[in-house]
Amino acid sequence: MTTTLSREIHPDRVTPTRAIRVTQGRVLLSEWTKFRSLRSTVWTLLIAVLLTVGLGALFSAVADSQYHTFSAVERLTFNPISTSLSGIQFAQLAVGVLGVLLMSGEYTTGMIRSSLTAVPQRLPVLWAKLGVFAAFTFAVTLVASVVSFFVGQALLKSHHLSVTISSPGALRDVVGAALYITTAGVIGVALGALLRNTAAGISTFVVAFFVVTPIAELLPSSWRSHFAQYLPSNAGASLYGGTHNLAHALSPWTGFAVLLSYAVVLVGAAAWRLKRADA
């Protein structure tokens, strides 16, 4: 018995050229395996794509059919690009939830203990998770955003409202929408790592992106105009022209910088907690 065992345990399973060692690249590969091997990941991203394309198409179709009822001001501020990308606001909920789950799931299932025992330096796990999540989410939402744009423009054709991808700002807004949703998701990952709890992470994400902004609408516009453009969802919306309701909307890249700052601060706090606190 013992002899068969030792034979099983001792073969040369590690090729000499590939010594056991933790590298950031290897942890990245591991996180990719984790990412693609959960059904929830695939489903959530699929939902995000369907929301982006489906709701973008719906908003475009409604705008097209109701255009004759629009007031002069509404016609003046009508933005065919952001209308076709309306689904982004809803898809970001799915992506944010996915981001939170990616980290909070490690804690609620106990998987984090396996992950951190394999990589006791800890931080490579967070960087790899963020890298895999951001790259894959950006790729998927960029496709969704491009499809939304073309579907939306096709639906807006009858009143000659549609624009082409080469018109000013169109390409930037289409890419910007994917950048926005990806950064929002990164904030979700950071919240999951920071709070280590799915319900708390999702609630915080929803408050930051869906509750704070409408509450700010209730304030007198003289106050609101000082900060409303810096709220996460408004800063992000300036990336794809969805800020027509703001008095002082930020320019697209300033808005992106503001949103990125939120993400950087939260990721920094998450890294600090991961490194310093008991797992």
Binding site: M1, T2, L5, S6, E8, I9, H10, P11, R13, V14, T15, R18, A19, I20, R21, V22, T23, R26, V27, L29, S30, E31, T33, K34, S37, L38, R39, S40, G105, E106, T109, G110, M111, I112, R113, S114, S115, L116, T117, A118, V119, P120, Q121, R122, P124, D278, A279
Partner: protein, 309 residues
């Protein structure tokens, strides 16, 4: 080799581990014994670098595990609490862990075969029984062919065949020169597998010794005597350092005398003996004796609380 020096760990106002020091040597199986809540799992979490000690330090193969560049080759650990995402298949779980350290797919399949999970490797772990989960945990501990293997309550949930398998596995790993450190609250299991014991109770070190010494250390061996003249024999035997208790009207338990001494006394008094049996203290008894004061909750306490409530 694991070295634990003056280790303490406090969670809030509870001192889970209270200044313990011991070393776990390679080449043998060392058992880590203690009642539930004695601090075994906490100590193992600190060994794995998951928790920061409040005081003291732990080294694995002479170094801080958290700074290891080839962690899975240094230490393989199975923690008592589940540490697996239920939505992933066993193979993908192991693959993801293996990839962090650059361990290939071939080794993943190898450990799957070693723990006997080949047929279910593609299934999601959420549907696994406790025993299958333990086997998967052992597989992940062995992935990196580690010098030190730490298993927290590995036989929990295993069937008899699985228990035998773990026993042989541990002995085999130790025979190959690895350091093997296994926790359990089951003394009998440790008596079969371990050659050294580290015993803790309420976070304190109670013993760090061999299994044989541990049993010998524990309080006096007793002799069971069955005789129809139990009362008369008791009076003859009683003396300094001798205690006699009666379990039934014709059965005595004698401590402080050997079976030979009792036999001679009975023969001299012309008393018939139907049974004269020395009782060797089992590891269980020794353990109960040594940890009696350090058990977190005595059953009598629980009974009393139950009545009060």
């Amino acid at each position: 080799m694991i070295e634990v020096e003056n280790l303490s760990k406090r969670y809030g106002d509870k001192l889970a581990v209270d200044n313990i020091s011991f070393a776990v040597q390679p080449g043998i199986v060392t058992g880590f014994l203690g009642p539930n809540g004695a601090g075994k799992s906490t100590t193992m979490r600190i060994v794995a670098g998951l928790d920061e000690p409040t005081h003291g330090r732990v080294t694995v193969n002479g170094a801080d595990y958290r700074k290891a560049s080839a962690p899975m080759a240094e230490l393989g650990i199975l923690l008592e609490a589940k540490a697996i995402h239920p939505g992933r298949s066993a193979r993908n779980h192991l693959l993801a862990l293996a990839q962090t350290n650059g361990i290939g797919r071939a080794r993943v399949d190898e450990v799957i075969d070693m723990v006997g999970l080949r047929e279910v490797a593609g299934r999601r772990v959420g549907g696994f029984s406790l025993g299958m989960g333990q086997r998967l945990g052992v597989a992940s501990a062995l992935l990196g062919d580690p010098k030190v293997v730490v298993l927290d309550e590995p036989i929990n949930g295993l069937d008899p065949e699985g228990v035998l398998w773990i026993r042989n596995l541990l002995k085999g790993l130790a025979a190959e020169g690895r350091t093997v450190f296994v926790s359990s609250h089951l003394m009998s299991e440790m008596a079969q597998t371990a050659s050294r014991l580290v015993v803790v109770g309420r976070g304190r070190l109670i013993a760090d010794t061999t299994v044989d010494e541990f049993i010998a250390q524990a309080s006096g061996q007793s002799v069971t005597v069955r005789t129809p003249e139990a009362l008369r024999l008791r009076d003859l035997l009683l003396g300094r350092d001798v205690t006699v208790t009666a379990q039934e009207s014709d059965v005595l338990t004698v401590q402080g005398l050997t079976a030979e001494q009792i036999g001679i006394v009975a023969w001299q008094a012309n008393l018939p003996l139907f049974e004269l049996a020395p009782q060797h203290a089992s590891l269980e008894d020794a353990f109960m004796e040594l940890t009696h004061d350090s058990v977190e909750y005595h059953s009598s306490d629980l009974a009393r609380d139950g009545v009060a409530a």
